[in-house]
């Protein structure tokens, strides 16, 4: 385990991956956006408004995915005291929060013309809002202590407690009556979405994932640098 806990080794690997993941992000985003905004067909019911989906759905996936990463990293940090795990969890939180926010905003903008309302308190929308609050709570808690180690520990526990929300978000549309439509892509019996829309959607999903890898590596690198700076300052003060 501790073979991978070495920040120097991580930095070496990260610096190799970064240009590739950044390039992949750009390529996938350009292709995905062009395809989904210009090439893909309008929907038989929603018309052109369906194009909001190509940002909304990948954002929702990212919101859940970033939280899952954060929770796994938190568990590793709590159990094995892995020095990089805390940093990864901390680095993942704002990214996930941003995508969750984008998901909520785009969903709201879609909801007004389609449903007739910006917001309803159904199980899917509410659980997604709770996810945003979990992110915000995590970010507040991780920075709330003078000693970064204690902040990370408290926040890691919060992250693990919040994991219970992930299956609730995913299955909320199956367990309860909601205004939000049931799953279209990952469902029993295959996707209920035509291929001309599904492919650009998946490309956008991959583009967001590639972006996530890129930004996470950059952010962890930054965290390592600032931890080093902190350590140097401390040795200067205490001599």
């Amino acid at each position: 385990m501790h073979r991978f806990a070495n920040p120097a080794r991580f930095l070496r690997i990260a610096n190799v991956i970064l240009p590739w993941s950044a390039g992949l992000t750009v390529v996938l985003l350009v292709v995905g956006l062009a395809w989904s905004l210009f090439v893909s067909p309008p929907d038989y019911q929603q018309g052109e408004s369906v194009r909001i989906m190509y940002v909304h759905v990948p954002s929702a996936w990212m919101g859940l995915f970033a939280y899952a990463v954060m929770a796994v990293a938190s568990a590793v940090a709590l159990i094995w005291k892995h020095p990089l795990a805390d940093l990864s969890a901390k680095a993942s939180a704002p990214v996930g929060a941003a995508f969750t926010f984008i998901c909520l905003v785009t969903g709201s903008l879609w909801g007004k013309p389609m449903w007739g309302t910006y917001w309803v308190w159904d199980a899917r929308l509410t659980s997604m809002l709770i996810l945003l609050f979990l992110y915000l709570g995590y970010m507040a808690l991780v920075n709330a202590f003078d000693d970064p180690g204690r902040g990370a520990k408290a926040a890691a526990i919060l992250a693990l407690v919040g994991v219970v929300n992930l299956p609730i978000i995913k299955f909320s549309v199956d367990w309860w009556n909601t205004l939000h439509q049931p799953a279209s892509v990952i469902k029993m019996g295959g996707p209920a979405i035509s291929a001309g829309m599904l492919i650009p959607l998946l490309i956008m999903g991959l583009a967001f994932k590639a972006f996530y890898v890129t930004i996470l590596l950059v952010r962890v690198r930054t965290e390592i640098a600032s931890a080093k700076v902190r350590a140097i300052r401390l040795t200067q003060v205490h001599g």
Binding site: P41, P42, D43, Y44, Q45, Q46, V50, M53, A75, L78, I79, W80, P113, M114, W115, G116, T117, V120, W121, D122, A123, L160, V161, V163, V164, I168, W175, W176, N177, T178, L179, Q181, P182, A183, S184, K187, A192, I193, S194, G196, M197
Partner: protein, 158 residues
Amino acid sequence: MTRKQRRLYFVGLGLLALFAATALMLNAFKDNLVFFYSPTDLQTKKVEAGRRFRIGGLVEQGSVNKDGKQVRFKVTDMAHAVPVVFTGILPDLFREGQGVVAEGKLDDKGTFLASDVLAKHDENYMPPEVADALKKSGQWQGDKDGKNGKGDGKEPGK
């Protein structure tokens, strides 16, 4: 047992307990977590007149009757239907066979007085040409068979 193992079991058991507690809680609040009742729920639950709640289902074919700003239609789950009266602007997706959720209350005669009507979109996404082709070939499964919204025909009240 090493400290690491102890921590692993501690976190694992903690999560297990948390998931169990949440599952029990959600199960206990099941009735309050639904966004709307289906017409069949109304038959079995007997909501008293004047209490605000939401009702969801499909707009029954041929039931929409517009009179100035007032609209009358029936919300059905293919087993039962409830007459609804609404005054105001309907969402674009509203039409016969479409899933809708209406918020309001029942009057004494069992008519639902809606103060809000929301259109419920289904999980099917396809280009208009595909929808037309499906309709022509008789393969169409949208609107009518209850894919459009839950709380409909096949599993009422779920």
